[in-house]
């Protein structure tokens, strides 16, 4: 862990060393409050995805501010370890865990917190059952249904029902329910999102009904992501929404204007070699371009033309000017790809450092 830079609370933004991953704390709190209001009085609650922030301090803040199930999702066992060791009482690993070593680690976590894991194969369920029996722990299994990503998940309802039956017969396992995950393109109109959520999530409700029709009870129907955080919660039967991007936000979801851009990269202009061009000290290692170039925040006439590993080239329209030493804020096209490149967040309120949070699960790929 790189400990060399930890600005003191109270430091003004202008004095931060750059590039720097910053969070506007007012915006972060605002985004958390949108969630707590949205889920007030509803059956469905948010289970925030920790893969987006990788930081127990943020997970706890999110849970405290309300609207959640009181736990988080994680993408990897190592990420779940950081969350459980950081005191989060319930963690749902939304990927299949198949290697023996990882299954043993999952079972160790199940002795410390409530653990749920996605499953799409009976052989995998058997492996987890065996590993859970010896230490006498219980792992919650959630059957993943494929709903358009062409990735993991059972493809057919019958397949899911058969798997649910097998899981209920295995020691060390508790069948908890079903999950799905959907990705959509740009869909600014809420009505379109209602239709899309109903279309993609319908299969999941069908699977739930079919399994329950066999006399097998479940308490979790988990689906969703930021784009469907509100519309999926209106679908009868859904109990949990997996959402994470809303917290820092990204231009990919620019149409969701109820959320604010909380996470940004602060960069400094290091060179102005030609008229109309300025070079910043943040490249793709600081703000991934995997889903598109970042956008310059609140600086009319300045845009990102290209990025290399450690540089960004800014284009200036006539009238806009930048000089060496000026600071800019960049908002990412995809925020979790940005966050996973950093060791800490610098939280600012009204332009001054309020907190520094270690991104304890950064680099947790396993």
């Amino acid at each position: 862990m790189n400990e060399h830079y930890r600005p003191t609370p109270g430091t003004p933004m202008e004095e931060l060393d750059t590039p720097c991953l910053v969070i506007d704390m007012d915006d972060l709190d605002h985004n958390m409050d949108v969630i707590s209001k949205t889920y007030e009085g509803r059956t469905a609650k948010l289970r925030g995805h920790a893969k987006n922030h990788k930081t127990p301090a943020i997970a706890h803040r999110q849970i405290r501010r309300g609207g959640t199930v009181g736990g988080v999702c994680a993408a990897k066992v190592s990420e779940a370890e950081v969350m459980v060791h950081g005191g989060i009482p319930s963690v749902f690993i939304t990927s299949e865990i198949v290697e023996p070593m990882k299954i043993d680690r999952l079972c160790s976590l199940a002795g410390q917190a409530e653990m749920l894991v996605a499953c799409d194969q009976a052989a995998n369920a058997r492996d987890i059952s065996k590993a859970a029996t010896a230490p006498g722990v219980e792992v919650g299994l959630v059957i993943e249904l494929e709903t358009g990503l062409r990735r993991c998940g059972v493809r057919e309802i019958e397949q899911g029902v058969a798997l649910a039956k097998e899981i209920t017969s295995m020691p060390g396992l508790r069948f908890r329910g079903v999950m799905s995950h959907q990705v959509i393109g740009d869909m600014p109109d809420r009505e379109d999102r209602v239709v899309e959520a109903n279309r993609t999530i319908k299969g999941l409700i069908d699977l739930k009904d079919a399994i329950e029709g066999q006399g097998i009870p479940m308490d979790i129907v988990s689906t969703g992501e930021t784009w469907s955080y509100d519309v999926a919660a209106e679908i009868a039967g859904v109990t949990e929404i997996q959402g994470g991007s809303y917290l820092m936000m990204e231009t990919h979801y620019s149409y969701m204007t109820e959320f604010r851009y909380a996470g940004k990269i602060l960069t400094t202009i290091i060179s102005t070699p030609r008229t109309g061009i300025a070079i910043g000290d943040a490249g793709v290692r600081a703000v991934s371009s995997i889903s598109g170039m970042p956008t310059v925040f609140d600086r009319p006439g300045v845009s990102v033309e290209s990025m290399d590993s450690d540089h960004a080239v800014f284009k200036l329209e006539s009238g806009a000017s930048l000089k060496v030493g000026d600071q800019l804020l960049l908002i990412p096209a995809q925020q979790d790809a940005m966050v996973s490149r950093w060791d800490r967040f610098v939280g600012l309120r009204k332009g001054k450092v309020e907190v520094v949070w270690d991104i304890l699960a950064r680099g947790c790929h396993n």
Binding site: M1, N2, E15, D17, T18, P19, C20, K51, A75, K76, S95, E96, I97, V98, E99, P100, D120, Q121, A123, N124, E146, L149, R150, R151, C152, G153, V154, T268, I269, I270, S271, T272, P273, R274, I277, I279, D281, A282, V284, R285, A286, S288, S289, I290, D308, S309, D310, H311, V313, V324, G325, Q334, D336, A337, S340, R341, W342, D343, R362, H365
Partner: protein
């Protein structure tokens, strides 16, 4: 980081412009010999003041734009004037000139790329000559990167090649530099085989950083890594490959851009003949500022 690890000569091949960073740079120059790239007169003045205040001397290379369209002063009169200014400033020692030459993209034609590289390298040499004609002493002519390492040493006048990619190599340069082998790879596991013809790996873009290009699955004919989402990699299988890569099995991915991949990890696992030999911390990972 590198100065504190004991290296005695470091070239910071970039511009350092903020007051706090210039102070750190000058503190390092008190411990070890530090070279720095400069592309503007104002920055030269700033560095000079910083070096004088700290009582150190910074070695300076004038960075010129050798085709990157990024940092670097425009070649010609402006570059010579900047070199003259640096030569006259206290605390700075004009040591030479540097330029970065654009590397090839995956589908560039190697012959055309070579011709373009020669022309770009020549820009640096022409400017060196112009500076010398103005009476300046230019000891160092530094060019980069790895893609031109062999071409650059054929050009009289080049004294240093800045190259970092060759030890680990990657898919992006493989077809241009077939004499170098990709040494750094990502080891991934199959976590799901949901339908015939598709398997899902536990390595997505967070563990591979495919911003500049997708990693390539190695060693299994008919198996191609075609999609990466944040946490998952999708491999499509054709022919014989359909019987390979069961859940729990391993696959090797060669990064498209090794530097970007390395930056996602805290350690290298050094493997020799299939066995773990070393475990090296990537000490400067995340040192983005």
């Amino acid at each position: 980081m590198f100065a504190n690890s004991g290296f005695s000569d470091i070239l910071l091949a970039n511009q350092v412009v903020t007051v706090s960073k210039i102070r750190r740079l000058c503190a390092l120059a008190g411990q070890t010999s530090i070279g720095i790239a400069v592309d503007s007169p104002d920055n030269a003045q700033q560095l000079s003041s910083g070096a004088v205040a700290a009582g150190v001397e910074l070695r300076v290379l004038v960075e010129i734009d050798a085709g990157m369209g990024r940092c670097g002063i425009s070649p010609g009169i402006e570059a010579v004037a900047l070199a003259q200014k640096i030569d006259g400033l206290p605390g700075l020692k004009l040591e030479g000139i540097m330029g970065s030459v654009p590397g090839p993209k995956g589908d560039d034609d190697p012959t055309q790329h070579e011709a373009k590289t020669s022309a770009n390298l020549q820009i640096v040499l022409d400017n060196k000559e112009a500076m010398e004609q103005a009476g300046l002493s230019i000891e160092v002519v530094s060019v980069g990167g790895t893609h031109c390492y062999a071409q650059a040493i054929e050009m009289p006048g080049v004294t240093e090649v800045r190259a970092g990619r060759y030890p680990l190599m990657d898919h992006r340069l493989k077809s241009f530099l077939p004499e170098l082998e990709p040494a750094a790879k990502i080891l991934a596991s199959v976590i799901s085989h949901p339908i015939d013809g598709i398997v899902v790996l536990d390595a997505g873009h967070k563990s591979t950083a495919p911003d500049q290009g997708r990693p390539v699955l190695e060693g299994i004919e008919g198996a191609n890594a075609t999609r990466f989402s944040a946490e998952h990699g999708i491999v499509e299988l054709e022919g014989e490959a359909q019987n390979k890569l069961k859940a729990g099995e391993k696959a090797w991915l060669v990064p498209y851009e090794s530097g970007a991949t390395v930056n996602q990890y805290d350690y290298f696992r050094a493997v020799k003949n299939g066995k773990l030999e070393g475990f090296w911390p990537i000490s400067a990972r995340g040192r983005l500022a």
